[in-house]
Amino acid sequence: MSGLLHTTLSGLNSDSYCEISQYRDQHFRGSRQLQEKSLKISSTLYVGNLSFYTTEEQIQELFSKCGDVKRIVMGLDKIKKTPCGFCFVEYYTRADAEHAMRFINGTRLDDRIIRTDWDAGFKEGRQYGRGKTGGQVRDEYRTDYDVGRGGFGKIIQMQKANHQPAIY
């Protein structure tokens, strides 16, 4: 029975924080298969629910706990070109990115619980929000008041400006 030491038990290898999520980038150039393959080998993370005021420095400090950070790309409002609450963090190795998924996802930065998810890799253009008003789509529709993300959601803001009752 050689190779006893190579036996692993799938029950003990649980690493659920590193699994890929359901999200697929609709603008991804390539098949679903390719996207999934890229996600499984990627060392880039999408980071969401950041405050608009969170800086690159803060992100660098937090994420370098898991390894050397290769690059940070701040997510920007497409029109205003100011940070709009997300970013990409790329590590030199996937192993470091996995640590971030295990230990930084779901913890606080700037007093907000941030979320990390695998990303297929940064491409020019992906740093911009895809909402109609320039920021992220989620900020178009949300109804809560979030002082770190520009207050009310964009649609609500416009309605308030036009003195229209909010449509829920």
Binding site: L12, C18, E56, E57, Q58, Q60, R102, F103, I104
Partner: protein, 760 residues
């Protein structure tokens, strides 16, 4: 399916553990005819990987052995094979678990006690071997002693004379082994309130106490007791005689450890009493908690839940044990077993699961750690630093840190924590929350210092060129244009008539780097773009060693208020080969940085630099091995071809490119290794110079050597040795003959001797 059944037995369930085990034994017995080897494999693996459930699985094996004697025999054989394999590949930590498993099988009537004693006799006789590293003997002694909590009673009952002999041999070994390495591994230099004992000494005290208590051990869960009537009937097997594999060149034994203790029975007066430091219960609890972390560290919620559901909850102050074990790992020297950030996140999860009790224990712990900062190893203080800011550690009634000299551990610690807090938020926030009386500890506003900024600096040499450069860069000038602007900068060194002064122009470097960094000061991304865009200029200006050093100096001058920026810039400059690792090392030890020498960020930079160097060497080595493997495969393919094509020229042609590549890579590896060695030598040399200076100054001035600066410096040197001991071992001859010679002050030499003692 079998895997899942076996792995999950012992987890929380509606039925009792005994009935689950009984049920599982029945299922497995039925499956033996078809799945025997699979079951053997799974059981061997859980024995190795789930030591925290040791007694659950030994009971299971006991039940199977009672139903099927042959299976029991095959299992024991497989375990011995696995043990031998582990030892061959230096998997000593897992081997200990296997030994313990085997010894508990004695309790389950699977293995006959006398044969187990015989195995232990062979283990203990390793201590009589000559010319072997002490760490080898240590391991065999540890494997023997650490199994006794489980099986001591049974072995003593059956073979007391032999056991007495073994124990007295153990005692004499422990008395004569050297412990020079211990100070290097201790978290605190003080022995009060909790002595930091060497791990074998502690274990020996625990075993001695256990023997005095007539081997009564009540903490370990022993499911096999419930099956005593069934197991008694089983036939036992004899362990085959086990000869410990001999020591070889490739053997790497575990490093010695110091047991970390921070709590005792006085810390939780309300709750259950904490087992004493020399009780065997303490040992077992700590072992099991460490094993749980090892099994589940990747899954923080599961890990927290598993820790909190450790049996014995109402008889032991479990929260205290958990916190102590976590800090023990966090502070372990040289490095924690797992990535540091895991422990912070794990503590958060634990507090979520036990919001009513765990945060208080944590608060007690952090309070105590703060109080004892003065005697804590500098490297460990760094680690609390990292964890402190995430736990709102600071409360500003710690006015004791104000009355002290700012270099003392407590004020220093508060400053570092505030700096880290600032990095995670922003400067104004820190200013707002720090009371005025503490403002001396606040971090500086991280702004860039541009010497050519003000009109009043007109008279500085290079001022006009700086202005020119600013305009040019803003107008998207190319590298060539930058070069031509810089041509006008006079060289203050040109009066020296040596050819060296020709390429190294400190003023050019100053003007260019100051201006560029100032223009790119807005963010890290801006600065990185600037480095990339003008890479050519940087490379040319920093061609010589002095050039590299000067670039680093200027970076520091510009960004001394923003240590984080300095760190990321140095990192980028190494990666883009503007400076090399040795230049960074020399810069760190330079007089310009003396003021910041004990600050955390400096050591972050140095350790990061060493890491990059090490990774680089490994990477090229890997490339070389892969290319060699490709060549070997090519040969194999050729050999297996049936063609009579043994024309030498054609094989050469095929091999040519790969062989060339291998030769090139070999050169690259040698050059990288030589650079790596040089880096360490530079670091050690500079440490020696710095420490010697201090020691001489103290002697002539008649002052005490042991200042906060000295403590910090010596401990940082120790950490370099510890953290990279495997690599540094390669340089022993050079270190002994060139640097750590007998003429050196004994304070410095002691560190080297401690290091040598580690794997001796």
């Amino acid at each position: 399916r079998l895997e899942s059944l076996i792995c999950r037995v012992g987890e929380k369930s509606n039925s009792s553990l005994e009935s689950n085990l009984e049920g599982l034994a029945g299922v497995l017995e039925a499956d033996l005819p078809n799945y025997k080897s699979k079951i053997l494999r799974i059981l061997c693996t859980v024995a190795r990987l789930l030591p925290e459930k040791l007694t659950v699985y030994t009971t299971l094996v006991g039940l199977l052995n009672a139903r099927n004697y042959n299976f029991g025999g095959e299992f024991v054989e497989a375990m011995i094979r696995q043990l031998k394999e582990c030892l061959k590949v230096n998997m000593y930590n897992e081997a200990v678990h296997l030994v313990r498993f085997l010894s508990d099988l004695v309790n389950c009537h699977v293995i006959a006690a006398p044969s187990m004693v015989a195995m232990f006799e062979n283990f203990v006789s390793v201590t009589q071997e000559e010319d072997v590293p002490q760490v080898r003997c240590d391991w065999y002694m540890f494997a023997f002693l650490s199994s006794l909590p489980w099986v001591g009673k049974e072995l003593y009952e059956k073979k007391d004379a032999e056991m007495d002999r073994l124990l007295s041999q153990a005692e004499s070994y422990l008395k004569r082994r050297q412990k020079i390495h211990v100070p290097m591994l201790q978290v605190w230099t003080a022995d009060k309130p909790h002595p930091q004992e060497e791990y074998l000494d502690c274990l020996w005290s625990q075993i001695q106490k256990l023997k005095k208590d007539r081997w009564q051990e009540r903490h370990i869960l022993r499911p096999y007791l419930a099956f005593d009537s069934v197991l008694c009937e089983a036939l036992q097997h004899n362990l085959p005689p086990f000869t410990p594999p001999p020591h070889t060149e490739d053997s790497v034994y575990p490093m010695p450890r110091v047991i970390f203790r921070m709590f005792d029975y006085t810390d939780d007066p309300e709750g259950p009493v904490m087992p004493g430091s020399h009780s065997v219960e303490r040992f077992v609890i700590e072992e099991n908690l460490h094993c749980i972390i090892k099994s589940h560290w990747k899954e923080r919620k599961t890990c927290a839940a598993q820790l909190l559901s450790y049996p014995g909850n109402n008889k032991i102050p479990l929260n205290y044990h958990i916190v102590e074990v976590i800090f023990a790992e966090l502070f372990q020297l040289p490095s924690p077993p797992h990535i540091e950030v895991m422990y912070t996140t794990l503590l958060i999860e634990l507090c979520k699961l036990q919001p009513g009790s765990l945060p208080q224990v944590l608060a007690q712990a952090t309070e105590m750690l703060y109080m004892r900062l003065d005697t804590m190893n500098t490297t460990c203080v760094d680690r609390i630093n990292a964890f402190a800011k995430s736990h709102c550690f600071l409360s500003f009634d710690r006015s004791d840190c104000l009355t002290q000299d700012l270099e003392k551990p407590k004020p220093k610690f508060v400053r570092e924590v505030l700096e880290k807090c600032m990095r995670l938020s922003y400067h104004q926030r820190i200013i707002d929350i720090v009371p005025a009386s503490f403002s001396v500890l606040s971090p500086a506003n991280p702004v860039c210092i541009y010497k050519y900024g003000d009109e009043s600096n007109r008279s500085l040499p290079g001022y006009t060129v700086a202005l020119c450069l600013t305009i040019a860069i803003k107008n998207k000038a190319s590298n060539d244009e930058i070069f031509s602007i810089l041509k006008d900068v006079p060289n203050p060194n040109q009066d020296d008539d040596d050819g060296e002064g020709f390429t190294f122009n400190p003023l050019k470097i100053e003007v260019f780097v100051q201006t560029l960094l100032h223009l790119a000061a807005k963010s890290f991304s801006h600065s990185f773009s600037a480095l990339a865009k003008f890479h050519e200029v940087f490379k040319t200006l920093a061609e010589s060693d002095e050039g590299k050093l000067h670039v680093l100096r200027v970076v520091y001058e510009v960004w001394k208020n923003h240590p984080q920026m300095i760190a990321v810039l140095v990192d980028k400059m190494i990666r883009t080969q503007i400076v090399d690792c040795a230049a960074v090392a020399n810069w760190i030890f330079s007089s310009e940085l003396a003021h910041d020498f004990t600050r955390f960020y400096i050591w972050e930079i140095l350790h990061s630099t060493i890491r990059k160097m090490n990774k680089h060497v490994l990477k090229i080595h890997k490339e070389l091995e892969e290319t060699k493997a490709r060549l070997a495969r090519q040969h194999k393919r050729r050999d297996s071809d049936d063609d009579d094509d043994d024309d030498d020229r054609s094989t050469d042609r095929e091999d040519g490119p790969l062989e060339e590549q291998i030769e090139r890579l070999q050169e690259k590896v040698e050059s990288a290794q030589s650079e790596q060695k040089n880096l360490f030598l530079v670091i050690f040399q500079r440490f020696i110079m710095l420490l010697t200076e201090h020691l001489v100054r103290c002697e002539t001035g008649g002052i005490d050597v042991f200042t906060p600066w000295y403590k910090s410096c010596i401990e940082r040197l120790q950490q370099i040795f510890l953290q990279h001991h495997q690599i540094i071992q390669q340089y022993m001859v050079t270190l002994e003959n060139l640097l750590f010679t007998a003429e050196l002050d004994h304070h410095i030499l002691a560190v080297f001797q401690q290091f040598c003692a580690l794997q001796a």
